[in-house]
Symmetry: C2
Subunit: 153 residues, 2 copies
DNA sequence: AGACCTTAGTTGACACATCAACAATCTATT
DNA sequence: AATAGATTGTTGATGTGTCAACTAAGGTCT
């Protein structure tokens, strides 16, 4: 049996494959959301707001999306310009807005969601459920390790 | 047993977790390569060129990196400006360049690689090798399905 | 040779992402 | 109450990514 070189180690390959698959998934989702002229990030914003009808502050969105606060500004700007959400003043904290879906935004996200869940099922194509559960567990473990090695954000 | 809602399906959660873990991994790698003032994409370019000493065309790089050709232009521009690689005219096809590492680029990537492989091992932290192999297989299967559902690039 | 199609790379317009620096506001401590 | 420190959101600079439209060059077909 030949000595393994660093470049061919399974663990190294696994990280590459993970990035590659995620890239493919992201591209697929970009293609998918194009029908409604949304980017995956824009969809994520609408989806989060839909789950939180009282509205979220921009900093909350940035934490949930693992994204810098300054990026939320532009994302919310563009969605607000399209009338899908609105910034509402927050009397409890005058530094922060409450961002909420408009009626149009709520209507759009509710139109998308069924297709979205269906697509998420389809791409697994008979993949055994138990195996999917294992995958989730493994990915979570890796995430935890990564955060241990590279702590701050 | 309660009927599962779409949002709680394991398969849907698995896709979210995949994106989340990949994001974390990407952020960790951004942090990692910062020591050499490189972005992950810049590292990938240098790494590919290091594996292919005869040089690659930009279109080859774009395919390997799953990235639009126009993006390679800027990526190569910046690395060329730093003297890490060079565009060489290609007599066999005067439309295309051959992009190769300079001595400085070769020296830099060879300084980075040992740390890189070590980090890739470290983040798995005693994760069983067999399980890693399974993960790679599962991710490949998902990738294949994704390309079936969302064909073109 | 000429006509036609394809391919490699660049450019410009735009979205998306980071960071640093700043203003406005909130909070804690004295 | 005053000061000091932290937090929210915006802005500007820069890098990264997409796409459409363009030039230059290659390939094919008659």
């Amino acid at each position: 049996m030949s000595k393994k070189t660093a470049t061919s180690s399974t663990r190294y390959q696994a990280l590459l494959q993970l990035l590659r698959t995620a890239e493919t998934l992201w591209n697929a989702s970009r293609f998918f959301f194009d029908r409604w002229d949304l980017s995956p990030s824009q969809f994520n914003v609408l989806n989060l707001l839909h789950l939180n009808p009282e509205g979220s502050t921009q900093i909350e969105l940035s934490r949930l999306l693992i994204m810098h606060r300054s990026n939320i500004t532009g994302l919310v700007d563009r969605l607000e310009k399209r009338g899908l959400l609105q910034r509402k003043d927050n009397p409890k904290d005058r530094r922060a807005y409450k961002v909420t879906l408009t009626t149009a935004g709520k209507k759009l996200i509710e139109k998308i969601l069924p297709d979205y869940y269906q697509a998420a099922e389809n791409v697994w194509d008979n993949f055994p459920e138990a195996r999917t559960k294992q995958l989730v567990g493994d990915l979570q473990k890796l995430s935890a390790n990564l955060e241990k090695f590279f702590p701050e954000r």
